[in-house]
Symmetry: C2
Protein backbone atom coordinates (compact mmCIF):
# COMPACT_ATOMS: atom_id res chain seq x y z
CA UNK A 1 0.00 0.00 0.00
CA UNK A 2 1.08 3.56 -0.58
CA UNK A 3 2.57 5.09 2.55
CA UNK A 4 0.31 7.41 4.43
CA UNK A 5 2.09 10.73 4.14
CA UNK A 6 1.19 12.14 7.54
CA UNK A 7 2.70 10.59 10.63
CA UNK A 8 -0.29 11.12 12.88
CA UNK A 9 -2.63 9.48 10.41
CA UNK A 10 -0.17 6.66 9.98
CA UNK A 11 -0.65 5.82 13.64
CA UNK A 12 -4.37 5.17 13.16
CA UNK A 13 -5.62 1.60 13.00
CA UNK A 14 -6.34 0.68 9.42
CA UNK A 15 -10.10 0.54 9.87
CA UNK A 16 -10.24 3.95 11.48
CA UNK A 17 -7.91 5.39 8.90
CA UNK A 18 -10.05 4.27 6.02
CA UNK A 19 -13.16 5.87 7.47
CA UNK A 20 -11.27 9.01 8.44
CA UNK A 21 -9.59 9.34 5.07
CA UNK A 22 -12.95 9.51 3.36
CA UNK A 23 -13.34 12.96 4.86
CA UNK A 24 -9.93 14.21 3.82
CA UNK A 25 -9.35 16.40 0.79
CA UNK A 26 -5.86 16.80 -0.66
CA UNK A 27 -4.95 20.44 -1.07
CA UNK A 28 -1.93 22.40 -2.16
CA UNK A 29 -0.87 25.17 0.17
CA UNK A 30 0.96 28.10 -1.38
CA UNK A 31 3.81 29.93 0.24
CA UNK A 32 2.64 32.83 2.35
CA UNK A 33 -0.95 31.68 2.75
CA UNK A 34 -2.40 32.33 6.19
CA UNK A 35 -4.41 29.35 7.40
CA UNK A 36 -5.44 30.74 10.76
CA UNK A 37 -5.53 34.29 12.00
CA UNK A 38 -5.83 35.17 15.70
CA UNK A 39 -9.44 35.75 16.61
CA UNK A 40 -10.88 34.45 13.37
CA UNK A 41 -12.79 31.17 13.33
CA UNK A 42 -11.06 27.98 12.27
CA UNK A 43 -12.99 26.27 9.48
CA UNK A 44 -10.75 23.34 8.66
CA UNK A 45 -8.05 21.24 10.16
CA UNK A 46 -4.98 20.22 8.15
CA UNK A 47 -2.68 17.25 8.14
CA UNK A 48 0.48 18.28 6.28
CA UNK A 49 1.79 15.61 3.97
CA UNK A 50 4.64 17.59 2.42
CA UNK A 51 4.59 21.17 3.56
CA UNK A 52 5.60 23.29 6.50
CA UNK A 53 3.52 25.69 8.53
CA UNK A 54 4.77 28.23 11.05
CA UNK A 55 2.87 29.08 14.19
CA UNK A 56 3.40 32.75 14.91
CA UNK A 57 2.61 34.86 17.91
CA UNK A 58 2.00 38.45 16.96
CA UNK A 59 3.15 40.83 19.67
CA UNK A 60 1.63 44.28 19.49
CA UNK A 61 4.15 46.81 18.21
CA UNK A 62 6.77 44.21 17.46
CA UNK A 63 7.72 41.84 14.76
CA UNK A 64 6.17 38.38 14.79
CA UNK A 65 7.76 35.45 16.51
CA UNK A 66 7.56 31.82 15.57
CA UNK A 67 6.57 29.68 18.52
CA UNK A 68 6.16 26.41 16.71
CA UNK A 69 6.53 24.59 13.43
CA UNK A 70 4.24 21.95 11.98
CA UNK A 71 5.10 19.53 9.21
CA UNK A 72 4.10 15.98 8.29
CA UNK A 73 4.71 14.95 11.89
CA UNK A 74 1.75 16.99 13.11
CA UNK A 75 -1.53 18.68 12.42
CA UNK A 76 -3.13 22.11 12.39
CA UNK A 77 -6.32 23.00 14.15
CA UNK A 78 -5.54 21.81 17.64
CA UNK A 79 -7.94 24.37 19.15
CA UNK A 80 -10.82 22.59 17.42
CA UNK A 81 -9.95 19.39 19.21
CA UNK A 82 -9.76 21.33 22.45
CA UNK A 83 -13.25 22.65 21.97
CA UNK A 84 -12.22 26.16 20.96
CA UNK A 85 -13.30 27.82 17.75
CA UNK A 86 -10.28 30.00 17.09
CA UNK A 87 -6.62 30.23 17.90
CA UNK A 88 -4.53 33.04 19.39
CA UNK A 89 -1.81 32.06 16.93
CA UNK A 90 -1.30 32.81 13.28
CA UNK A 91 -0.61 29.79 11.07
CA UNK A 92 1.41 30.66 8.00
CA UNK A 93 2.48 28.44 5.13
CA UNK A 94 6.21 28.70 5.13
CA UNK A 95 7.12 25.80 2.91
CA UNK A 96 4.58 25.22 0.19
CA UNK A 97 3.36 21.78 -0.61
CA UNK A 98 0.55 19.36 -0.01
CA UNK A 99 -1.70 18.66 2.95
CA UNK A 100 -4.90 16.84 3.72
CA UNK A 101 -7.82 18.98 4.79
CA UNK A 102 -10.95 18.17 6.74
CA UNK A 103 -13.86 20.35 7.73
CA UNK A 104 -14.18 21.28 11.37
CA UNK A 105 -17.50 19.50 11.93
CA UNK A 106 -16.41 16.19 10.48
CA UNK A 107 -13.16 16.29 12.40
CA UNK A 108 -14.94 17.00 15.65
CA UNK A 109 -17.27 14.09 15.07
CA UNK A 110 -14.37 11.77 14.41
CA UNK A 111 -12.33 13.14 17.28
CA UNK A 112 -15.15 12.55 19.73
CA UNK A 113 -16.07 9.11 18.52
CA UNK A 114 -12.77 7.52 17.54
CA UNK A 115 -10.68 6.68 20.57
CA UNK A 116 -7.41 6.06 18.70
CA UNK A 117 -7.70 9.39 16.93
CA UNK A 118 -8.50 11.06 20.21
CA UNK A 119 -5.45 9.59 21.83
CA UNK A 120 -3.13 10.41 18.94
CA UNK A 121 -4.25 14.01 18.73
CA UNK A 122 -3.89 14.62 22.45
CA UNK A 123 -0.44 13.09 22.37
CA UNK A 124 0.44 15.53 19.64
CA UNK A 125 -0.94 18.41 21.70
CA UNK A 126 1.53 17.44 24.39
CA UNK A 127 4.39 17.31 21.93
CA UNK A 128 3.45 20.70 20.54
CA UNK A 129 3.31 22.26 24.00
CA UNK A 130 6.76 20.91 24.63
CA UNK A 131 7.99 22.36 21.39
CA UNK A 132 6.55 25.78 22.21
CA UNK A 133 8.19 25.76 25.63
CA UNK A 134 11.47 24.68 24.13
CA UNK A 135 11.31 27.43 21.54
CA UNK A 136 10.55 29.95 24.25
CA UNK A 137 13.69 29.03 26.16
CA UNK A 138 15.73 28.91 22.95
CA UNK A 139 14.62 32.38 21.94
CA UNK A 140 15.57 33.67 25.34
CA UNK A 141 18.99 32.16 25.74
CA UNK A 142 20.57 31.41 22.41
CA UNK A 143 22.24 33.69 19.90
CA UNK A 144 20.88 34.39 16.45
CA UNK A 145 23.46 32.30 14.67
CA UNK A 146 22.63 29.13 16.62
CA UNK A 147 18.91 29.71 16.28
CA UNK A 148 19.17 30.27 12.56
CA UNK A 149 21.04 27.02 12.11
CA UNK A 150 18.48 25.19 14.20
CA UNK A 151 15.68 26.69 12.22
CA UNK A 152 17.16 25.72 8.87
CA UNK A 153 17.69 22.16 10.06
CA UNK A 154 14.19 21.80 11.44
CA UNK A 155 12.82 23.11 8.20
CA UNK A 156 14.91 20.73 6.19
CA UNK A 157 13.76 17.80 8.30
CA UNK A 158 10.13 18.61 7.74
CA UNK A 159 10.40 19.56 4.09
CA UNK A 160 12.57 16.53 3.31
CA UNK A 161 14.58 18.87 1.14
CA UNK A 162 17.56 21.08 1.69
CA UNK A 163 16.58 24.05 -0.41
CA UNK A 164 13.65 26.30 0.04
CA UNK A 165 12.31 29.70 -0.83
CA UNK A 166 12.94 32.08 1.99
CA UNK A 167 14.09 35.69 2.31
CA UNK A 168 16.15 37.00 5.18
CA UNK A 169 13.33 39.38 5.91
CA UNK A 170 10.93 36.48 6.33
CA UNK A 171 13.41 34.60 8.47
CA UNK A 172 13.79 37.61 10.74
CA UNK A 173 10.10 37.37 11.54
CA UNK A 174 10.45 33.71 12.39
CA UNK A 175 13.38 34.25 14.70
CA UNK A 176 12.11 37.53 16.11
CA UNK A 177 15.25 39.47 15.21
CA UNK A 178 16.28 42.17 12.74
CA UNK A 179 16.68 41.36 9.10
CA UNK A 180 20.30 42.48 9.27
CA UNK A 181 20.96 40.01 12.03
CA UNK A 182 19.80 37.19 9.81
CA UNK A 183 21.84 38.46 6.88
CA UNK A 184 24.95 38.58 8.99
CA UNK A 185 24.53 35.07 10.35
CA UNK A 186 23.61 33.71 6.93
CA UNK A 187 26.64 35.36 5.35
CA UNK A 188 28.83 33.67 7.94
CA UNK A 189 27.34 30.28 7.11
CA UNK A 190 27.76 30.87 3.40
CA UNK A 191 31.40 31.79 3.87
CA UNK A 192 31.95 28.53 5.69
CA UNK A 193 30.24 26.64 2.89
CA UNK A 194 27.37 25.46 5.07
CA UNK A 195 24.65 27.02 2.95
CA UNK A 196 24.27 29.07 -0.17
CA UNK A 197 21.59 31.62 -0.87
CA UNK A 198 20.49 34.31 -3.24
CA UNK A 199 17.44 36.53 -3.33
CA UNK A 200 14.95 34.43 -1.51
CA UNK A 201 16.41 31.00 -2.09
CA UNK A 202 18.39 29.07 0.46
CA UNK A 203 20.12 25.75 0.03
CA UNK A 204 21.75 23.68 2.71
CA UNK A 205 25.12 22.41 1.53
CA UNK A 206 26.64 20.92 4.66
CA UNK A 207 24.13 19.41 7.00
CA UNK A 208 26.71 18.21 9.51
CA UNK A 209 28.38 21.59 9.66
CA UNK A 210 25.07 23.29 10.30
CA UNK A 211 24.36 20.87 13.11
CA UNK A 212 27.61 21.87 14.73
CA UNK A 213 26.60 25.52 14.43
CA UNK A 214 23.08 24.99 15.75
CA UNK A 215 22.15 25.54 19.36
CA UNK A 216 21.61 22.51 21.53
CA UNK A 217 17.85 22.78 21.11
CA UNK A 218 18.19 20.98 17.84
CA UNK A 219 18.28 17.40 18.93
CA UNK A 220 16.13 18.06 21.96
CA UNK A 221 12.94 17.61 20.04
CA UNK A 222 10.37 15.26 21.53
CA UNK A 223 11.88 11.85 21.96
CA UNK A 224 11.23 8.53 23.60
CA UNK A 225 8.08 6.53 24.13
CA UNK A 226 6.34 9.46 25.78
CA UNK A 227 5.97 11.56 22.68
CA UNK A 228 5.33 11.39 19.03
CA UNK A 229 8.18 9.25 17.73
CA UNK A 230 11.18 11.45 17.10
CA UNK A 231 10.69 12.30 13.55
CA UNK A 232 14.06 12.81 12.00
CA UNK A 233 14.68 11.70 8.41
CA UNK A 234 17.22 9.05 7.62
CA UNK A 235 20.51 10.26 6.36
Amino acid sequence: MAAIPNILLRLLPRKDYLRFASGLTPVTLEFGKVLYEPGKPIRDVYFPSACLISLLKIAAGHRALEVGMVGPEGMLGIPIALGIGSSPIRALVQGEGTALRMGKARFLKEFNSCAPLHRIVLTYVHALMGQIAQTAACNRFHVVEGRLARWLLMTRDRMASGDFRMTHEFLSHMLGVRREGVSEAAAGFQEKGLIEYSRGKIRILNHRGLEAAACSCYGESPKGPEAIPAWRPAR
Copy 2:
Protein backbone atom coordinates in the same frame (compact mmCIF):
# COMPACT_ATOMS: atom_id res chain seq x y z
CA MET B 1 -22.75 26.43 49.96
CA ALA B 2 -19.10 27.19 50.45
CA ALA B 3 -17.53 28.47 47.28
CA ILE B 4 -15.45 25.92 45.39
CA PRO B 5 -11.98 27.36 45.53
CA ASN B 6 -10.74 26.23 42.15
CA ILE B 7 -12.19 27.82 39.06
CA LEU B 8 -12.04 24.74 36.88
CA LEU B 9 -13.85 22.64 39.44
CA ARG B 10 -16.41 25.39 39.88
CA LEU B 11 -17.36 24.92 36.24
CA LEU B 12 -18.38 21.29 36.83
CA PRO B 13 -22.06 20.40 37.08
CA ARG B 14 -22.99 19.89 40.72
CA LYS B 15 -23.50 16.17 40.36
CA ASP B 16 -20.16 15.62 38.69
CA TYR B 17 -18.43 17.86 41.16
CA LEU B 18 -19.69 15.90 44.14
CA ARG B 19 -18.44 12.61 42.74
CA PHE B 20 -15.17 14.14 41.65
CA ALA B 21 -14.57 15.85 44.96
CA SER B 22 -14.72 12.53 46.76
CA GLY B 23 -11.37 11.75 45.20
CA LEU B 24 -9.73 15.03 46.11
CA THR B 25 -7.42 15.45 49.09
CA PRO B 26 -6.64 18.91 50.44
CA VAL B 27 -2.90 19.45 50.74
CA THR B 28 -0.61 22.28 51.71
CA LEU B 29 2.19 22.99 49.30
CA GLU B 30 5.32 24.54 50.72
CA PHE B 31 7.41 27.14 49.01
CA GLY B 32 10.12 25.64 46.86
CA LYS B 33 8.61 22.20 46.56
CA VAL B 34 9.02 20.59 43.15
CA LEU B 35 5.82 18.87 42.06
CA TYR B 36 7.01 17.62 38.70
CA GLU B 37 10.49 17.14 37.38
CA PRO B 38 11.24 16.64 33.65
CA GLY B 39 11.43 12.98 32.82
CA LYS B 40 10.05 11.76 36.12
CA PRO B 41 6.60 10.20 36.29
CA ILE B 42 3.64 12.28 37.38
CA ARG B 43 1.81 10.62 40.26
CA ASP B 44 -0.87 13.15 41.08
CA VAL B 45 -2.71 16.03 39.56
CA TYR B 46 -3.37 19.22 41.53
CA PHE B 47 -6.07 21.83 41.53
CA PRO B 48 -4.67 24.91 43.30
CA SER B 49 -7.13 26.55 45.63
CA ALA B 50 -4.83 29.20 47.07
CA CYS B 51 -1.28 28.75 45.85
CA LEU B 52 0.85 29.45 42.85
CA ILE B 53 2.96 27.09 40.81
CA SER B 54 5.55 28.01 38.19
CA LEU B 55 6.12 25.97 35.09
CA LEU B 56 9.81 26.09 34.27
CA LYS B 57 11.75 25.00 31.22
CA ILE B 58 15.28 24.04 32.08
CA ALA B 59 17.66 24.87 29.27
CA ALA B 60 20.91 22.96 29.37
CA GLY B 61 23.72 25.15 30.58
CA HIS B 62 21.48 28.08 31.35
CA ARG B 63 19.30 29.33 34.11
CA ALA B 64 15.69 28.21 34.18
CA LEU B 65 12.89 30.08 32.48
CA GLU B 66 9.29 30.31 33.53
CA VAL B 67 7.00 29.48 30.63
CA GLY B 68 3.74 29.47 32.53
CA MET B 69 2.06 30.10 35.85
CA VAL B 70 -0.78 28.13 37.42
CA GLY B 71 -3.03 29.30 40.22
CA PRO B 72 -6.62 28.69 41.25
CA GLU B 73 -7.67 29.32 37.66
CA GLY B 74 -6.00 26.15 36.47
CA MET B 75 -4.64 22.73 37.20
CA LEU B 76 -1.40 20.78 37.18
CA GLY B 77 -0.87 17.48 35.49
CA ILE B 78 -2.04 18.29 32.00
CA PRO B 79 0.20 15.62 30.49
CA ILE B 80 -1.81 12.97 32.34
CA ALA B 81 -4.94 14.13 30.60
CA LEU B 82 -3.08 14.05 27.31
CA GLY B 83 -2.12 10.46 27.88
CA ILE B 84 1.50 11.12 28.76
CA GLY B 85 3.10 9.95 31.98
CA SER B 86 5.60 12.74 32.51
CA SER B 87 6.17 16.33 31.59
CA PRO B 88 9.15 18.06 29.96
CA ILE B 89 8.53 20.93 32.39
CA ARG B 90 9.41 21.44 36.02
CA ALA B 91 6.53 22.51 38.28
CA LEU B 92 7.70 24.50 41.28
CA VAL B 93 5.67 25.86 44.18
CA GLN B 94 6.32 29.53 44.07
CA GLY B 95 3.57 30.81 46.34
CA GLU B 96 2.81 28.43 49.14
CA GLY B 97 -0.73 27.57 50.05
CA THR B 98 -3.44 25.01 49.54
CA ALA B 99 -4.43 22.79 46.68
CA LEU B 100 -6.58 19.75 46.02
CA ARG B 101 -4.79 16.62 44.98
CA MET B 102 -5.97 13.54 43.12
CA GLY B 103 -4.13 10.39 42.15
CA LYS B 104 -3.31 9.89 38.51
CA ALA B 105 -5.44 6.78 38.07
CA ARG B 106 -8.58 8.24 39.56
CA PHE B 107 -8.20 11.41 37.57
CA LEU B 108 -7.75 9.50 34.35
CA LYS B 109 -10.87 7.49 35.04
CA GLU B 110 -12.87 10.64 35.68
CA PHE B 111 -11.36 12.45 32.73
CA ASN B 112 -12.30 9.67 30.37
CA SER B 113 -15.79 9.15 31.68
CA CYS B 114 -17.01 12.60 32.61
CA ALA B 115 -17.72 14.70 29.54
CA PRO B 116 -17.96 18.05 31.34
CA LEU B 117 -14.62 17.47 33.05
CA HIS B 118 -13.12 16.41 29.77
CA ARG B 119 -14.32 19.57 28.10
CA ILE B 120 -13.16 21.85 30.90
CA VAL B 121 -9.71 20.38 31.06
CA LEU B 122 -9.17 20.57 27.32
CA THR B 123 -10.31 24.17 27.36
CA TYR B 124 -7.73 24.85 30.00
CA VAL B 125 -5.07 23.15 27.92
CA HIS B 126 -5.86 25.62 25.19
CA ALA B 127 -5.61 28.54 27.59
CA LEU B 128 -2.30 27.30 28.93
CA MET B 129 -0.87 26.89 25.44
CA GLY B 130 -1.86 30.46 24.74
CA GLN B 131 -0.19 31.60 27.93
CA ILE B 132 3.02 29.79 27.07
CA ALA B 133 3.09 31.32 23.60
CA GLN B 134 2.40 34.75 25.05
CA THR B 135 5.19 34.36 27.58
CA ALA B 136 7.54 33.27 24.82
CA ALA B 137 6.92 36.45 22.87
CA CYS B 138 7.10 38.55 26.03
CA ASN B 139 10.46 37.09 26.99
CA ARG B 140 11.76 37.82 23.54
CA PHE B 141 10.61 41.40 23.08
CA HIS B 142 10.11 43.11 26.39
CA VAL B 143 12.63 44.56 28.77
CA VAL B 144 13.26 43.22 32.24
CA GLU B 145 11.46 46.07 33.98
CA GLY B 146 8.19 45.52 32.14
CA ARG B 147 8.38 41.77 32.56
CA LEU B 148 9.04 42.05 36.27
CA ALA B 149 6.02 44.28 36.73
CA ARG B 150 3.88 41.88 34.75
CA TRP B 151 5.12 38.99 36.78
CA LEU B 152 4.38 40.65 40.10
CA LEU B 153 0.90 41.53 38.96
CA MET B 154 0.14 38.06 37.68
CA THR B 155 1.36 36.63 40.96
CA ARG B 156 -0.76 39.01 42.96
CA ASP B 157 -3.82 38.13 40.93
CA ARG B 158 -3.38 34.43 41.58
CA MET B 159 -2.32 34.71 45.19
CA ALA B 160 -5.09 37.20 45.99
CA SER B 161 -2.50 39.03 48.04
CA GLY B 162 0.00 41.75 47.38
CA ASP B 163 2.89 40.53 49.44
CA PHE B 164 4.83 37.36 49.03
CA ARG B 165 8.06 35.68 49.86
CA MET B 166 10.43 35.98 46.97
CA THR B 167 14.11 36.73 46.53
CA HIS B 168 15.58 38.55 43.56
CA GLU B 169 17.62 35.47 42.89
CA PHE B 170 14.47 33.39 42.62
CA LEU B 171 12.84 35.99 40.43
CA SER B 172 15.80 35.99 38.11
CA HIS B 173 15.16 32.32 37.39
CA MET B 174 11.55 33.04 36.62
CA LEU B 175 12.35 35.82 34.20
CA GLY B 176 15.43 34.16 32.77
CA VAL B 177 17.73 37.09 33.53
CA ARG B 178 20.58 37.86 35.93
CA ARG B 179 19.89 38.50 39.57
CA GLU B 180 21.38 41.97 39.26
CA GLY B 181 18.94 42.81 36.50
CA VAL B 182 16.06 42.02 38.81
CA SER B 183 17.60 43.98 41.68
CA GLU B 184 18.00 47.00 39.47
CA ALA B 185 14.44 46.93 38.20
CA ALA B 186 13.07 46.27 41.67
CA ALA B 187 15.09 49.14 43.13
CA GLY B 188 13.57 51.42 40.52
CA PHE B 189 10.06 50.34 41.47
CA GLN B 190 10.78 50.80 45.14
CA GLU B 191 12.07 54.29 44.54
CA LYS B 192 8.84 55.14 42.74
CA GLY B 193 6.86 53.73 45.66
CA LEU B 194 5.31 50.95 43.59
CA ILE B 195 6.63 48.15 45.75
CA GLU B 196 8.71 47.61 48.83
CA TYR B 197 10.97 44.71 49.57
CA SER B 198 13.56 43.39 51.92
CA ARG B 199 15.44 40.15 52.09
CA GLY B 200 13.07 37.82 50.36
CA LYS B 201 9.82 39.65 50.96
CA ILE B 202 8.06 41.73 48.39
CA ARG B 203 4.94 43.85 48.84
CA ILE B 204 3.01 45.61 46.15
CA LEU B 205 2.13 49.13 47.26
CA ASN B 206 0.74 50.71 44.12
CA HIS B 207 -1.09 48.31 41.87
CA ARG B 208 -2.06 50.91 39.31
CA GLY B 209 1.44 52.21 39.07
CA LEU B 210 2.78 48.74 38.48
CA GLU B 211 0.24 48.20 35.74
CA ALA B 212 1.55 51.28 34.01
CA ALA B 213 5.07 49.92 34.28
CA ALA B 214 4.15 46.44 33.06
CA CYS B 215 4.50 45.37 29.47
CA SER B 216 1.37 45.10 27.38
CA CYS B 217 1.25 41.34 27.89
CA TYR B 218 -0.42 41.95 31.21
CA GLY B 219 -4.01 42.37 30.19
CA GLU B 220 -3.65 40.12 27.19
CA SER B 221 -4.42 37.02 29.21
CA PRO B 222 -7.06 34.70 27.83
CA LYS B 223 -10.32 36.55 27.42
CA GLY B 224 -13.68 36.18 25.85
CA PRO B 225 -16.01 33.23 25.45
CA GLU B 226 -13.29 31.18 23.79
CA ALA B 227 -11.17 30.67 26.87
CA ILE B 228 -11.33 30.16 30.55
CA PRO B 229 -13.17 33.24 31.76
CA ALA B 230 -10.65 36.01 32.25
CA TRP B 231 -9.78 35.54 35.82
CA ARG B 232 -8.83 38.83 37.30
CA PRO B 233 -9.77 39.69 40.87
CA ALA B 234 -12.13 42.52 41.67
CA ARG B 235 -10.49 45.67 42.84
